[in-house]
Subunit: 228 residues, 2 copies
DNA sequence: TACTCGATTTAGGTATGCCTAAATATTAGG
DNA sequence: CCTAATATTTAGGCATACCTAAATCGAGTA
């Protein structure tokens, strides 16, 4: 499709950059081809191909040394944050303005993030009052690309009983998102860890409720928390 | 890009179908390759190529006989109306909800129409109260594809002085759209033809104003009217 | 009924982005 | 330090959608 060449950065390139940003964390750790391949659902060969292109573009979008992983360059990071901002603003918009069920916002945002204009971005941000967080609890990069550092931890790293605040829920798996929603597990809610089944999930309770909920390992892996 | 193959109808195919619908009018007249090439800004060779594909697909999207133009099949018409509905709903949404200036809605809609889900379509339609017309005065196809027959005429077909109601303004040229907006020319407004300069435009007045406005031929060609 | 010229199609090529299978490089275990 | 298993890259292909240049078609005129 040679017909939308205005911007030299393609939809695919954006998805790769975003994946590198998320997998590399805010510290910008090196990301392996295999990790990218798994996340983007393409073969490792395709990853190599795209990484070569991203490294060769002007300006370079990544630093890439074969067999040793990739990192975003500053141009790549800027672009990735821009797309991430689109994604999270759109999710917030779908949820707040169009009343989407929480588990449906991600897939729609994943597509639209590549096609909205700067004007669209600006207008929905204004309509939403320039929100800082999306409905999953993830923070939305500012226009200048700045983003407060994330101090949350994974529920699956918890080894002792205790009380926490739910920071965010992973938006990737709609099924899990819906299961957790039904059980009242969402960002900002208080979560008490009652029992730990090594690598097989947790028993928790929500808010001041005494009711014990069993979370599978997969469910638990989707949850990030803050100590109270 | 082999990665969004879920729907066998590509973005490009949609644009071709929509163009055939609009150029062929509601009567479904045959459309020439050249007309399509001009409208879609591609070479005639590319048109031939795509028409062959559209005719060969199952179900066939067009009836096409080489050297003799194309028409939409019923499947093609259904699809074209679906995309046109997306387009016009999005334009209305941008205008009404996101307060876009009228001359900016078209380009954004032209892109987004291909990427919104049925849920998005349904939600914005509901939010807008299931509108029948877009902000340019064009009617929005219903969910089932039905659309009232258009009884408007072109301003440029007017040969005698007289009074009309502005039916719609072409959304294709943002510059003209803005010029006309500034002069108060928009759908629903009363327009009086004061003078006719054969193929070089019109002198008109708006509403009950006495002020004479000079419209170039290009400006006039963008306006459709109804007799009062 | 031919001719001619504009319209249309065919042929051959480019760029993306993806895939599979066959190398090859890295790294961890012995 | 060597080797085997694993990770990664290279090579060769496919599909989409576009383009230019070279045929070819067909409608209107002589
Ligand atoms: Mn998301
Ligand atoms: Mn995406
Ligand atoms: Mn439009
Ligand atoms: Mn379009």
């Amino acid at each position: 499709m040679a017909r939308r060449p205005a911007n030299p950065i393609s939809e695919s390139m954006d998805d790769y950059l975003k994946a590198i940003l998320v997998l590399g964390g805010s510290e910008g750790k090196k990301v392996t081809s295999t990790a990218l391949a798994r996340r983007l659902n393409v073969t490792p060969a395709s990853i190599t191909n795209m990484l070569q292109k991203l490294a060769a573009s002007t300006p370079a979008m990544v630093q890439y040394e074969r067999h040793h992983g990739v990192q975003l360059s500053s141009a790549g990071k800027k672009r990735a944050l821009e797309v991430l901002r689109h994604h999270r603003l759109i999710e917030t918009f779908l949820y707040e303005v169009l009343n989407y069920p929480i588990e449906e916002v991600h897939d729609e945002a994943e597509r639209l993030e590549h096609f909205i204009s700067e004007r669209f971005e600006e207008r929905i941000a204004a309509k939403l009052g320039h929100p800082k967080f999306d409905p999953h609890g993830h923070c939305i990069p500012a226009l200048d690309g700045r983003m407060p550092k994330d101090s949350s931890m994974r529920l699956t790293d918890v080894r002792d009983e205790g009380t926490f605040i739910i920071d965010s829920i992973s938006d990737i798996d709609a099924r899990i998102l819906k299961v957790l929603k039904v059980r009242g597990i969402s960002p900002g809610v208080q979560l008490r860890v009652r029992d730990i089944y090594e690598d097989h999930g947790y028993a928790v309770s929500i808010g001041s409720s005494k009711k014990i909920l069993q979370l599978s390992q997969a469910d638990s892996a989707a949850i990030k928390i803050q100590p109270m």
